[in-house]
Symmetry: C4
């Protein structure tokens, strides 16, 4: 936590007073826009929101973002509404301090720092999902590690760390990643992996693109459900070996367009 606070202090120093105002989402100097994004990408971002709701990964809460293709220092995400209701008109642009480029009075997600701080330290990441995926939450409050036992969930092979906000924010936060320091601590817990659980809260999932982040959110939920069922049958669970998981992940990655097409069609038809 010391480290995190210090990094945050140093960043605040580097950014000066503007950075601090910005962290509160209030700034006289809004960041510059990276320009309009491809409507196809916006459509996919809208679809990602609706798919996550349609497939039961998010309820009235949760959010998904995509890095701006024209500027890695910007990302796109909806204003603060339920994912199932998101339309193209709700998409906003943020810088990596999670300050809106053009807020126009729209309310923003309190926990947008999850996205900005992960994009900052993970240049490989193009899409981020934060969810309260139901089967995953029990794994964040017990000692059973979430591990891949299903080939569609092979991407979990690096392990799934649990973010304990008490370590980052002290014993009595409000459980929300509501500032850059907490976002940075969460990003640190995530490390180079695909998923981190958030104790008593949910998960963050990243991907190389929107379909992958959605796919991983869905199959993290599925793996958690299957793992709990397998554990209840008793005896040892035969998890994927790391090597086979790596190979399965590579092969399955080439097939994500198949469920994505299905999910998108169904979600947008509602």
């Amino acid at each position: 936590m010391l480290t995190t606070n210090r990094r945050q202090f140093l960043r605040a120093g580097a950014l000066g007073i503007t950075g601090v105002l910005v962290a509160r989402g209030v700034s006289a100097q809004a960041p510059a826009s990276a320009g309009p994004a491809d409507p196809k990408l916006i459509e996919d971002l809208v679809a990602a929101n609706r798919i996550l709701a349609d497939q039961g990964v998010v309820d009235g809460y949760g959010h998904v973002s995509v890095r701006h293709p024209a500027d890695p220092q910007r990302y796109l995400m909806s204003r603060s509404i339920a994912p199932e209701l998101v339309t193209a008109a709700d998409i906003m642009e943020f810088d990596l301090d999670s300050v809106a480029v053009d807020a126009r009075g729209r309310s923003v997600y309190l926990e947008r720092f999850i996205h900005g701080e992960i994009y900052r330290v993970r240049p490989d990441v193009v899409a981020v999902v934060h969810n309260h995926s139901p089967s995953v939450i029990p794994f964040g409050v017990t000692t059973a590690p979430l591990k891949p036992l299903y080939h569609m969930s092979a991407f979990l092979w690096p392990g799934v760390p649990v973010f304990e906000i008490r370590n980052a924010g002290g014993p009595a936060t409000d459980m929300l990643v509501r500032n850059p320091a907490l976002g940075q601590a969460l990003a640190k817990t995530l490390g180079a992996g695909p998923v981190a659980l958030m104790r008593g809260h949910g998960a963050v999932v990243v991907g190389d693109n929107l379909p992958e982040a959605v796919f991983r959110s869905f199959y993290t939920e599925v793996n958690a459900r299957l793992q709990a069922q397998a554990m209840s049958l008793g005896g040892p669970v035969n998890y994927l070996d790391t090597e086979e998981a790596k190979k399965a992940q590579a092969s399955v990655a080439g097939t994500i367009a198949r469920p994505w097409e299905l999910w998108k069609r169904k979600a947008l038809a509602r």
Copy 2:
């Protein structure tokens, strides 16, 4: 129980014979109306009924009420039909003895005393839900206490008592809170908290407003499901600390409009 019966006796004494008749829902002298309520509030009360059904918190049974804005001695609730079928025309007005202001032959919920007696002793409460929330019922018939492990359910931090109707009504009631004495005993079990379970029956949930009572009903159900799953994974469950739960509750309370808007849109579209 003695205490409860005595309080009931004393109240009956204070109210005189009219009070007793009223408690049977039959009265030559119907209570006066507090006047028409805002159509927007009626719409929200209808929505609350339908949302609870749509989200799986109630089935063909259960009811939700709201205190009359013009008179804290009156509350509004549907006539006796399934929550999913409630329309504005079904909303009736009751006094705190749970006597209908204008029954016009409509049947009323047998357990309306749950509402009246809670409003009587909890001036802070504006909305009351009685449900048979499925995941909650097992916690009412075992010794495992329902405790918050999920930040959306942080409002459960005061603890969730279980109402044992055998203590209030003797060993062989019909399990229904069908009179003022039982309503008073239930209100006593609820105390200052947000939720009480009813052994072998369901739960009662209160809120500062309709969306909050609905939100709490939904996330009590979710927490119960998550807690049962976490317990089945083995080992200790990492519940929310009281201090973080209080803070989480305060923060989350500010976001209830988000799922409420979603739930309402979906429920009223059916």
Copy 3:
């Protein structure tokens, strides 16, 4: 089993050769009709089929019947199709040997003897449901007795026996109640109760009328699900006492119209 076979033998003797042909569903002499039934009753029987499917109590299998109001020796039931597809035109009339009054080449349920034999020995029964109710089946293949822990399921207080077809039909039946002897054995297991489980198969549920038989089918399923969940929480389960269950059953019986109206409206709207 001896007893059952003997009773069956005696009945066959009493009925003569016609009775035996009848038991095969082939008879030169079809039984006489009790006359047309009230279209309202037919509509309720169609609704009962669709409700049971809509509420997840039956899948592509299962059947529901009602005793003919004009003749206690006749009952009404669909031809052999999935309950969800039943229409008024599919309803047929049977005598208590489960011979169709007017088959006209229509195929009939193999297990119609469940209905006929229960109507024969239970003059109080007006409606019978046979289902493969999913949460109930595990209780038929383990030693855990199904017991009421939920006031809506209070009608289970007499206990829920398990019909072991091996005792009635020998070690290697095809698991189907496909003849009068097996129907009689099942009726004997049911006794004077509301529900009997059928090991590895499903359940039979009876009622004083169609809504009650549907209601009991639904809340037997619910109780089984809740009981399994309660048992998984550990510790003793606080079941309903017999006396309170009897009272709860009586009170709840007066409210069945409420869910029935809801279920019917939903099921017939599909």
Copy 4:
């Protein structure tokens, strides 16, 4: 594994270089067509895809095939899309090396060898389903054998072997049955049975016709769910005896048209 590789080597030798190219799905010499199939069969194959999705047996993945009625050396299966989206125009024809007769640039399922290699060694099989049936997967990664406890699932009496791809393909495959050798090894595990689980992956299910393969897929899923629930109730589970299971299977086989008609109507109406 040696055996499998040797058989594969011998086959490759017998087929020559063309066979090897074919196994990669690239061939200058496409196999000859067995001619157009009955549109009724194509409709059933489309229905089978949609039913499996509609009934929750497949998600965005999985595939179902049928042997060509005019030539036992050919089978019909969709191009590589989600089962829920399959239409008649997507159906392709393959030989038993799983080479498309007329690919026209369409992508094919990586795991089509599951189908071709089973048809090759099981002349009795007319339809094959590969799925990721959710309740089944835990039984593939634990030591609990899947066994029939439900009469609708009586066809499982021969036992359900688990295909361990590590034995067939070495410690680090990508978990996919992506070549003839792995398909042959899976077919060997299946043996003469109706179902084999695939560790960490899913299952393969065969039938005498499309409705039977779909029916068995559905009721394998149901049995797995019921068995897990029964095991969680504690005590021994009363499974079907082999003899009664054989008889039940025979009787139930005669009723498959009933759910098939229902499932088809529902799935094609979406």
